[in-house]
Amino acid sequence: MTCDQLEIWISAYQDGELEPRRRRLVEQHLAACSECRTLGEEMAALATSLRAGLERWDPPETLHTHVMRRIPEPKRVSAPGGRTPRGWLSFGLVPAGLLAAWLLAVKPLVPHPPVNPHPVVGTTQPVNPPGNVEVANGTNPAAEPGSEQKTAPPSLPQGHSTGTGGSASADHPGRGGVQGVASVQPKGTVHPKSESSRPSGARDGTVRRTPRTERELEPLRRLRKLRPPRWQERMVQWHRRPSGVRLVNGPGLAPIGPRGHTEPRRARITVVDYVLPEVPPPTQAETKPKTEFVLRATEPYQVSTASYDY
């Protein structure tokens, strides 16, 4: 190596920062080259004078004062055992109060029907209180997201509760798979307006019937399989959505309430219409089938059409 190439190593050698292999090379070169030896001596002398000459500055007298003035006061240490009562009041009791208010205000007014393992089927006349909320998906072009004050979905004509699995509907042209309504009554089995089909004692016009035939049961079984396992979490996750919600892959998750309500509300969902996908072949099993629903809320308003409990 030439002297120019070794110069940088000579500098590092004088600082004691050279790795052993390079150090041996430099030492061999310095033993043979007087110019580089002189350079090395000058570098060492320079380092000595730098260490002597580079003194630290005295800081301004105001530095300490200014620093300590800007240091914030330490936070008050809370009592042993965790939060102070004030903390619990501010953070813990608020949700509890909201829950209590909800239980007092909403629950008695709109009691939950018992969960029916079987689908609730068939309706006659929807009860349409002011401000009822309909949750519809894209299968119903008239039910736009956010729409309220609807009485009955246009896509659900009276007697439309006859659609069942395997039958394509004219309301949903071009959609493959199974289409129908949750009140999976065979055509003509239950007329929606038939007073005779409403058993005595049924509230708000809801007719609860157990599906009888295989044709009725089969799409309901498929719907149950598609129910998300942790639907409550998803409901909470969606609780700030507007009333119009497009639900895919499972009902029972929608936030239902008048526009402007932001607190979570447990909503029971009525399946008005649904489109089941075709069952994929085993080779394409990784593509999860999606089911689209036209839904209607049953809470906080008792809107009952073809209802379906989950």
């Binding site: 940088i8 570098m43 000459g53 800081p59 300590m68 240091i71």
Partner: protein, 181 residues
């Protein structure tokens, strides 16, 4: 207040301001000197020193007690100075400032003494380009290794080697000229 730096850090984390006050007292000279050499302006250096201590106070929970509080603090002030220099894009004319008496932080008597003792070296260092000056200050004032300088400045070790070598060549020439004049 007594104790090691790590003990004072622990006291500070428990809300004792006097512990952090002691840390400021101990290390303000180092922090201010690094900032002063790197930035070249007494007022900006004081601001940077304040910022460094504030950053350190806020980052105390992340400090790992290994007896290396000065190195940790030096790294903070070095980074702050580099950021300030990069952001502001204003380089102080070092030669002019160092000749100006108002730029000396100390009183007139001590100023004169420092000028006589190490004026030539300081002026030569202040005439260096900023990158070279940083490396020289961290190496010969703070006694950092090449690896530590590289970590402080965020550059490879080979870059530190090159900068130090060129800075020394530059200084050697400047000091020879100074002695000749």
């Amino acid at each position: 207040m007594h104790g090691t730096d790590d003990e004072l850090v622990a006291y500070s984390l428990h809300g004792r301001r006097e512990a952090f006050s002691e840390l400021v007292t101990r290390h303000q000279k180092m922090v201010y000197s690094v900032a002063r050499y790197m930035l070249g302006d007494a007022h900006v250096a004081e601001d940077m020193a304040q910022e460094a201590f504030l950053h350190a106070y806020q980052a105390l929970p992340s400090y790992q007690a290994q007896g290396k509080f000065p190195a940790w603090l030096r790294q903070i002030v070095t980074r702050l100075c580099l950021n300030h220099r990069r952001d502001s894009r204003r380089e102080v004319a070092w030669a002019d400032l160092s000749d100006h008496p108002a730029e000396m932080a100390d009183g007139p008597d001590s100023r004169l003494g420092q000028w006589e003792e190490c004026g030539a070296v300081r002026r030569a260092i202040e005439a260096l380009p900023p990158d070279y000056r940083d490396a020289i200050v961290l190496r010969y004032m703070e006694d950092l290794t090449y690896d530590e300088i590289a970590r402080h400045l965020g550059v490879p070790v080979s870059t530190v080697e090159t900068r130090l070598h060129r800075a020394k060549k530059h200084l050697r020439r400047l000091l020879q000229e100074s002695m000749a004049s």
